[in-house]
């Protein structure tokens, strides 16, 4: 029995006590002609969770998102939203911020955002209130009557974000949401995404920026060539990867680090050394050697960054 039906079964058996998960993809498959774009991906997004969807260009992220959005239908597997299959009601529960967010350049902010909210099942009055709330939250209430083409790029993107969340979606899909933004606006949008998460919105988040994923996401899926290569809790994933870097900060220079058994490389940094090792057990030899020669200010066995994991997984199998 697939997970989609099981979620529904739970709901039926225990009434409303157990809510079906907001978004479940079960072995979703999509082929374009003889090319497989998405090859049997399964994932679950909980309420109040930001789920990271990673992958190089052309890995199948956008196709996956489009299937979630109901724009194209999967060739196999199924997608359920709060235990139900896709339908017009599901469309109302979703918000979408595409990579190249677009709005009508020559139409007033208020007119087009209220229009978009109405298309997603909101009344004009509710939409107007919600829009004013969000404009106030971004501290730009004066944009209500402005045309999109009059705004700077950063502000256009804020309007795009508002357009995606104005109808209070339960499932929010962000495709490269922060690309092309300056750091101030990235922080602002990130804060709002976190706030939405804390309010219970389930967010499917795709990006190339690994530091955003590390900051925001609990669970991730890395797609590579249409397949899911790594999936699960981000911390668990990191633990699975050997720690192969040591940072050593000392008051005076340390010689002979390269000769220590197990060391594969030493890189001199401004405030110390970055040492690559083949086995974590060898780290103590480094510390011992360093303490003999100098006073140690800083010693850390570093966790692999998501960036390193990504490059390792996606880069290696790239040949």
């Amino acid at each position: 029995m697939d997970e989609g039906t099981s979620a529904r079964t739970i709901e039926m058996e225990e009434g409303n006590l157990v809510m079906a998960k907001p978004l479940i993809l079960n072995r979703v498959l999509k082929q374009f002609g003889d090319k497989t774009a998405v090859n049997g991906i399964s994932l679950e997004v909980e309420e109040g969770e930001i789920y990271g969807l990673l992958g190089a260009n052309g890995a199948g992220k956008t196709t996956t998102m489009r299937m979630v959005l109901g724009v194209i239908f999967p060739d196999g597997g199924d997608i359920s939203y709060f235990g139900k299959p896709y339908g017009p009601d599901q469309r109302h529960e979703m918000g979408y911020l595409p990579e190249e967010r677009g709005l009508y350049p020559k139409v007033k902010v208020s007119e087009q955002i209220i229009y978009l909210a109405q298309l997603r099942g909101m009344s004009a009055r509710e939409a107007d209130q919600s829009l004013r709330f969000w404009l106030d939250r971004f501290e730009v209430p004066e944009y209500y009557d402005k045309r999109i083409e009059e705004l700077s790029k950063g502000n256009q993107q804020k309007m795009g974000f508002i357009a995606a969340v104005v109808h209070k979606p339960k499932i929010l899909i962000l495709d490269e949401a922060f690309s092309g933004l300056d750091p101030v606006n990235v922080e602002l949008l990130k804060a709002n995404v976190k706030q939405l998460r804390d309010e219970g919105t389930s967010i499917l988040f795709s990006t190339h920026r690994m530091e955003h994923v590390e900051e925001l996401c609990r669970n991730i899926t890395i797609l590579h060539k249409s397949n899911s290569v790594i999936q699960g809790d981000l911390r668990e994933i990191k633990k699975r990867y050997p720690r192969e870097e040591v940072f050593l900060g000392t008051t005076s220079p340390v010689a002979g680090l390269e000769e220590i058994a197990g060391v594969t490389g030493v890189e001199r940094k401004e405030r110390g050394y970055l040492i690559r090792i083949s086995d974590v057990a060898d780290a103590k030899h480094i510390l011992a050697a360093a303490m003999e020669q100098s006073e140690v200010e800083h010693f850390e066995i570093k966790e692999p960054t998501l960036n390193q994991i990504f490059i390792k997984e996606v880069g290696e199998s790239n040949e």
Partner: protein, 430 residues
């Protein structure tokens, strides 16, 4: 929640509220008003009743004094001849006349040649440039001379009434076989033909213009939504079908508004007394214009609109950049133009086989059928069959366009070939 209504309202309002739309409508209103006033303006500028404008013609008596005298009498009987004769009884020297032309005393003179075997001499009009006579004046003089010829040949054996009767040309009327005594409403006299002709012509141009305008608006709207990437948000909010038909209906309402607006302007202008008179004097009998033709025209326009509009939407959905749109919609505009020209060139022969065929082909039938209903002979069953074919094609092409649209809006990059489109349509399962 009526989403179709929301799409229609938004698309319509965002067009109507634009300044450029208002300005276009005002400019069109002015142009149309001027066009309707053209007959009156021509009258004002040519000033037919103005005595001083009448052409002064010298009349020589030297070679044919009798003809000259009779011509003078005949001319005096004409109420508005448009020319005055100046006698040159004494002066027979053409040099004198030449001098008078140079001094602008006369505009030209008539010279009668030697008598020929048939009895009537050649007549020559001599003027400054040699081609000063207006067409209408030439005709008047010619018929006056004709009259003179008759008088001379009759040699006084006929009364003036009889002579006048002889001058009236014979009228040849056409009538459809079998409708001889039913007092058929199709009176094919020249006057009613002219009125209907102009009427149908105006309707065809109006429908072509509005159809092209609204059609390309739909296409460019779809393309700009695609190129500004708002399409991605739209297709995830509302089904592409709702979106496409919402837009088509919105532009349809816009077209109807334009038609109503232009009709009001034309009717208002024609109803003004000075225009009424001028148009009647041109030989156009306004009472011949029937509302039926307008209503049929409107019905055909509506059907034709939906047939073309779905195609315009489909093409718009395939193009990613606005710059490529003009080229992409070319086949459809070409189709529109062909149907227009077939209709127009067939107006002289509204019962020819060509227009009979095209009035049953879906893309040409809206205009061809209108021509046939307006100025040709058409049976009720023919209209019914043509409309039925049109309706079926609308359903078919609407369905096809919807499929193309649903696929097209997701395809970015270069314009897909037919094969790529077919592949994508299968892949998207639409």
């Amino acid at each position: 929640m009526n989403k179709l209504g929301t799409v229609v309202r938004f698309s319509l309002l965002s067009k109507v509220k634009k300044k450029s739309f208002m300005i276009t409508m005002i400019i069109i209103a002015i142009i149309v008003s001027i066009l309707v006033n053209v007959p009156y303006l021509i009258q004002v500028f040519t000033g037919k009743d103005d005595e001083s404008k009448s052409v002064r013609i010298g009349l020589l008596y030297d070679t044919q004094p009798q003809i000259a005298e009779t011509f003078k009498q005949a001319s005096q009987q004409l109420p508005n001849a448009g020319y005055t004769l100046i006698d040159y009884k004494q002066k027979t020297d053409s040099g004198v006349l030449q001098q008078d032309i140079d001094q602008d005393k006369i505009d030209g003179y008539l010279q009668f040649g030697e008598e020929q075997k048939g009895g009537f001499p050649d007549v020559t009009y001599i003027s400054k440039s040699g081609s000063d006579l207006e067409g209408s004046l030439q005709a008047t003089i010619q018929s006056a001379l004709q009259n003179v010829k008759m008088r001379i040949i009759a040699g006084g054996s006929l009364s003036n009434e009889q002579l006048g009767e002889m001058g009236v040309p014979v009228q040849l009327n056409e009538q459809k076989a079998g409708s001889a005594d039913s007092g058929s409403k199709k009176d094919n006299s020249i006057e009613s033909n002219l009125a209907n002709y102009i009427y149908v012509y105006v309707l065809i141009i109006l429908f072509l213009m509005i159809n092209t305008m609204t059609g390309s608006m739909i296409a460019s709207e779809v393309t700009s939504e695609k190129s500004s990437r708002i399409m991605e948000i739209l297709i995830t909010s509302v089904s592409p079908l709702t979106q496409m038909f919402g837009k088509i209906i919105a532009m349809f309402l816009l077209g109807l508004m334009q038609i109503a607006f232009l009709t009001l302007i034309v009717v208002g202008n024609v109803a003004m007394p000075h225009n009424r008179q001028a148009i009647t004097e041109m030989g156009v009998d306004l009472s011949q214009i029937s509302l039926d033709v307008f209503l049929f025209g409107l019905l055909l326009y509506v059907l034709g609109y939906f047939l073309y509009a779905t195609l315009f939407a489909a093409i718009g959905s395939l193009v990613s950049r606005t710059e490529e749109l003009g080229q992409a919609i070319m086949p459809i505009t070409l189709l529109l133009m062909i149907s227009f020209y077939v209709g127009m060139f067939s107006m002289g022969t509204p019962n020819a086989i060509l227009i009979k065929i095209t009035s049953f082909i879906p893309f040409t039938s809206p205009i061809s059928m209108l021509v046939r209903i307006g100025i040709g002979d058409v049976a009720a069953w023919e209209i019914a069959v043509s409309l039925a074919i049109l309706l079926v094609s609308i359903v078919f092409f609407g369905w096809l366009s919807a499929k193309i649209y649903r696929t097209g809006v997701l395809m970015y990059g270069k314009r897909p070939s037919l094969r790529e489109l077919g592949k994508a349509m299968r892949a998207y399962k639409m």
